[in-house]
């Protein structure tokens, strides 16, 4: 299972000729120069791609967690006219492939003058467009005892205060799951940046890596492997630290759906 990943990692410290003709994972000698070649070698420093990705991913996490939890709180706890209708529509958007909205969204962002900026990649995240997270949070919020917010309501707490002071602190596990998946999906996203970013200075890691493949061809494989390895580090670290949370998140989301 892990062999391909380890092969890539070992390829990043191998001599060019050793990558071919050897399936061994242990290089005859460690040569880390490929990392420097890859990082500084391009037209734009690889660090710039990392920075752009970090900015977009962090903003996406904040946007998704805030906007989806607001919506989920309304659906799980508040009563208002048409709630079931809106909830059904929200669930319906879970099924809709993004290809349908893709072209008009692109045209909209083009007319707004946002194409070639990161705005189309970030602003939608603040508008709760990822129904999956709303759904996940609704499921979790429903498990929190109703007596808690009913008692708070009796004491004259506003819905906002209940949301902020009761629901949010009690929902840290699901908020963390949403945040982590949000980060990973944004970090790995290739399609969005491919469409909206065309200036190399705004490229994300995924786009940077792709342009790296095209520009170096297969001439410098070790630095290609080195940059590929670097692009996987954040996801790998998150996996390492939050394994349990990720696995529980995916298991429960799958079963309750």
């Amino acid at each position: 299972m892990l062999y391909p990943l380890l092969w890539m990692l070992s390829g990043s410290v191998k001599d060019q000729n050793e990558i071919f003709g050897s399936a061994s994972l242990i290089p005859s000698q460690f040569d880390f120069s490929a990392y420097a070649r890859g990082w500084f070698g391009g037209q734009v420093n690889f660090g710039s791609f990392v920075w752009n990705s970090v900015v977009i991913a962090v903003l996406s996490v904040i946007g998704n967690v805030v906007s989806c939890s607001l919506a989920a709180y309304a659906f799980a706890r508040l009563n208002f006219w048409g709630k079931n209708f809106w909830f059904a529509l929200m669930l319906g958007t879970l099924m809709l492939p993004y290809h349908v909205t893709l072209i008009p969204q692109y045209i909209l962002f083009l007319k707004l003058g946002w194409v070639k900026t990161m705005l189309p990649l970030v602003v939608p995240k603040f508008l709760a467009v990822d129904a999956f997270f709303i759904f996940l949070m609704v499921q979790f919020f429903r498990g929190i005892p109703r007596e808690l917010d009913e008692a708070a309501m009796m004491d004259g707490c506003s819905p906002w205060r209940i949301y902020w002071r009761i629901m949010m602190p009690l929902s840290l596990p699901v908020l963390a799951t949403a945040a982590i998946f949000s980060f990973i999906w944004t970090w790995d996203d290739f399609f969005g940046p491919l469409i909206y970013l065309s200036d190399i200075n705004t490229y994300t890691v995924q786009l940077g890596l792709r342009s790296f493949v095209d520009s170096t061809g297969s001439s410098d494989w070790s630095s290609l492997f080195a940059m590929s390895s670097i692009s996987l580090i954040p996801v790998f670290l998150i996996f390492l630290f939050f394994q349990r949370l990720l696995i529980d998140g995916i298991a429960t989301a799958g079963l309750k759906r």
Binding site: M1, P4, L5, W7, M8, G21, A23, V66, S67, L70, A71, A74, L78, N79, F80, K83, L89, M90, T93, M95, L96, P97, H99, V100, T101, L102, I103, P104, Q105, I107, L108, P124, L127, A128, V129, I134, P159, D188, F190, F191, V205, Q206, L209, R210, V213, W221, L224, S228, S231, L232, F236, F239, R244, L246, I247, I250, A251, G254, L255, R257
Partner: protein
């Protein structure tokens, strides 16, 4: 008294306002980025639009072209269907097999679970696609292994149209981790007294699997099958990276989404691409409806 309760009863506005305020971001997103665009996309699918001139209506021309004379549509649909039909069952079979193995109370379960899950988590990143491209290249590690172990000179998998799609199918199967996790959770929920009763009755392992485990797992199998199939229809990044965006060699990896992308952002045929998107929606919807209908006959629910 009556007057007082009357005064205290909240107005319709006060009752509804908090809900709508909390939903405000979602409403903006839903109308502005989902429902609105979906309607526009339906309209565009009946037009000819290249972003420069205003869209002009062409009636059903786009759909007629899809239905009758578009070779690329047919080949991309074939590629995608073949990919779905091959990758999804194999992926689920592996996921179930590994989940069954891991469910037998082995030591170090979290480590194995992690090892099997990691590739799916890295999922659609460009690095994985790049890695795959190099592994299956003419002088990549697959051919090196074939040469040392079996003495075979392997072909250049990626640039040979007979094999290129299979490399993508293998990539999809390699990433069986998330259905596996869901299978594991499903296996946990099967009551152990059922197994105890069966083993007291002297039922064989195979019999227990086919009479208890498999039937009780059908809701999870169903869920995984639907989710994985929809995902497989939408696959994009690996095909794009491995073929450098062309879908080659000879359209052998031209996935439907890649073709849609080329039409929209390569040739700026926005109307035609919108029609392609709607055809995809219809295909996915038909598939999903069919799965739900068939589920009646094979998915076992407790109640």
């Amino acid at each position: 008294m009556r007057v007082e309760t009357y005064q205290k009863a909240p107005s319709a506005f006060a009752r509804n306002a908090p809900g709508y305020l909390f939903l405000l971001p979602w409403f903006i997103g839903f109308f502005g980025l989902t429902l609105g665009p979906a309607i526009v996309s339906l309209y565009l699918s009946f037009t000819d639009y290249n972003l420069l001139q205003a869209p002009h209506l062409v009636g059903l021309d786009n759909y007629a072209r899809i239905a009758t004379g578009d070779d690329k549509f047919i080949s991309s649909m074939k590629v995608t269907l073949f990919y779905v039909v091959c990758s999804v069952p194999l992926k689920l079979a592996f996921a179930l097999m590994v989940a069954l193995l891991l469910n037998r109370g082995i030591r170090g379960l979290p480590i194995y679970r992690a090892i099997f899950y990691l590739p799916s988590l890295l999922g659609s990143s460009v690095a994985i696609a790049v890695l795959w491209r190099q592994i299956f290249d003419g002088d990549g590690v697959v051919n090196t292994l074939l040469w040392y172990v079996l003495g075979i000179n392997g072909p250049s998998w990626i640039s040979n149209p007979n094999y290129s799609l299979y490399t993508l199918i293998i990539l999809a199967i390699w990433q069986f981790g998330s259905p596996m996790i869901i299978f594991l959770a499903g296996l946990r929920q099967i009551p152990t007294d059922l197994y105890e009763a069966a083993s007291l009755d002297g039922a064989s392992k195979a019999r227990i699997f086919f009479k208890i485990t498999l039937p009780l797992l059908t809701p999870v199998i169903f869920f995984n099958a639907v989710v994985q199939t929809i995902d497989a229809f939408k696959a994009f990044t690996p095909a794009y990276v491995i073929s450098s965006g062309t879908g080659g060699p000879i359209d052998s990896t031209l996935f439907y989404t890649l073709y849609l992308y080329q039409e929209a952002f390569g040739y700026f045929r926005m109307g035609y691409a919108a029609a392609l998107a709607w055809v995809l929606v219809i295909i996915i919807a038909v598939f999903t409806a069919f799965s739900f209908l068939s589920a009646r006959y094979w998915v076992h629910y407790d109640d």
